[in-house]
Amino acid sequence: MTATIRPRGSAASATQTTGPDRTGQGRRLLAAAAALGLAVTPHVAAAQSLLNVSYDPTRELYREVNEAFINHRVAEGHDRPQIETSHGGSGSQARSVIDGLRAQVVTLALGADIDEIASRGLLPEDWQARLPHNSSPYTSTIVFLVREGNPKNLGDWGDLVQDGVEVITPNPKTSGGARWNYLAAWAWAERNDQDPREFLTQLFANVPVLDTGARGSTTTFTQRGLGDVLLAWENEAYLALEELGEDSFDIVIPSVSMLTEPPVAVVDRNIEDEAQGELAQAYLEFLYSPEGQALAFKHFYRAWDDSAADPEDVARFPELELVSIEEFGGWGQAQDEHFGDGGTFDQIYQVK
């Protein structure tokens, strides 16, 4: 079929390279390939390094946590460890670990993603009982980010289904945060005598864009000027205020929301020796230490221990009714019922 394709010789940009030049290029290419080959098989002392595979909005948090933890280890008299963190959508991060990314520690957006890793035998099924507070060193919730002055006067979940209100949320299929959004709306409907399915169908009829991740939705709302309200992690909403100026957006706290628990775990199968296991364990325990908790507060997470935190960081979180995932029967059940193939979310788009 490509009989008539010819090289671009006749186009204006033709450059003819002469013989010796070309061999030089070839050699350089070989050298580059060799360098690449070396680059993909790094030999770092395994015991001194950790890879933490995390989700999207924790970039800022773990940048500081890693630094503090390294200093903490050195102060304790250990060798200086090397901590790396990788960020992305929670689900795809979990898939990378399942497909062989050698993460010693996972800190993801929801338990279901770590359950999935556990179901492939990389860590015990009861991983969530190994650390305090359901293995969640910090929690957050889902709030509304609206435009300055709240022009559409949106105060609670019920207001989001009005005609002419545009709601921005990521796709629950690809985003961990969006699943929490969905369940929070469901919980509100149940408490306010509405049929949750009907309510969510109306809500998603007002959604013009489903981005694949939480950051994508934040961009759509803040930069592209689309939508009246963004359903966001509380920490992400505060971050947006901090980054983009408090005079362009407001945070609205609904009456009911989810207690979102982004859990952490050591991936046992990827631990190479005892020393690395100890390091991984110490890393997660550091998150529970007063110092680690203070950092979580600082980055707009609701943590547990405020003994070392700046009181201002603690005081800025308003009170609201927080619903635990246990009300939905835990992630194992909620995942299948709502977000699995043919679950309640799929049904929203099948009714035409």
Binding site: M1, T2, R6, S10, S13, R224, L226, D341
Partner: protein
Amino acid sequence: MRALVAKSPMPGFGLGMGITITMLSLVVLLPIGALVLHGLNFGLANNWQVVGTERVMASLFLSFRLALLAALFNLVFGVILAWVLARYEFPGRRVVDAIVDLPFALPTAVAGIALTALYAPNGLFGAFVRDWLAPLGNFLLSPLGVEFSGRIAYTQWGILIALVFVGLPFVVRTVQPVIAEIEREVEEASATLGASRAHTLRRVILPMLMPAALTGFALSLARAVGEYGSVIFIAGNIPMRTEIAPLLIVIRLEEFNYDAASAIGIAMLLVSFALLLVINLIQIWSRRRVGDV
């Protein structure tokens, strides 16, 4: 015994063929083979059960329909662009020529974000379309009962624009060298024999461009069908309306449903294969009709 392959006077056939087969196997056949194998293990009926659902069908239909439209658009305007670049001398011709390659060079995510920023309701073109073009169009078309929302980004229009963008260079780059090689004498002969300009264009020039243009069309189509990086930013990704098939594959992967993902992948592969086959047949037919160019 006769040799299976006729001996060629050109040396290096064995080595060349060996490298070709090895490369082709490693780079193309292996991944596609793995995909098909996965599908076979899953079972024919199961595959169909995945693909036959309303939502998957809607996304496949959307992907192929918009890819065809974008490729058609690129076919017409790519040929015109190639003609202008190959036939006329004008200041800045080389710059235009270089610009045509940009969609090749730009990472697709960058293209997607740039297009979204331009066509979003608060973007440069987005605002223009919403405030001027859409009201004007709606005024003119109102007797027909057609209404245009005025939104480009996050609708099927946005997807179409992204697909046109990534596919344009294929047609231009395949057609341009052919135009450059058409000899003027052919046109002059046609004119001396009394053909009008339109007649020369239709009966002399276009048949010669046809095979190359079709190749460009096929490449542009193939690229558009599989495009993910740029579309994902500008499509609204709403199921049944603006959800492209490649996104649905990613969604199935996020659900850890590798079987369903491979089933949709195979369906896309089959449709693409059928489309390319048809295009090839048209090419063969057109070559028979006008002779090889």
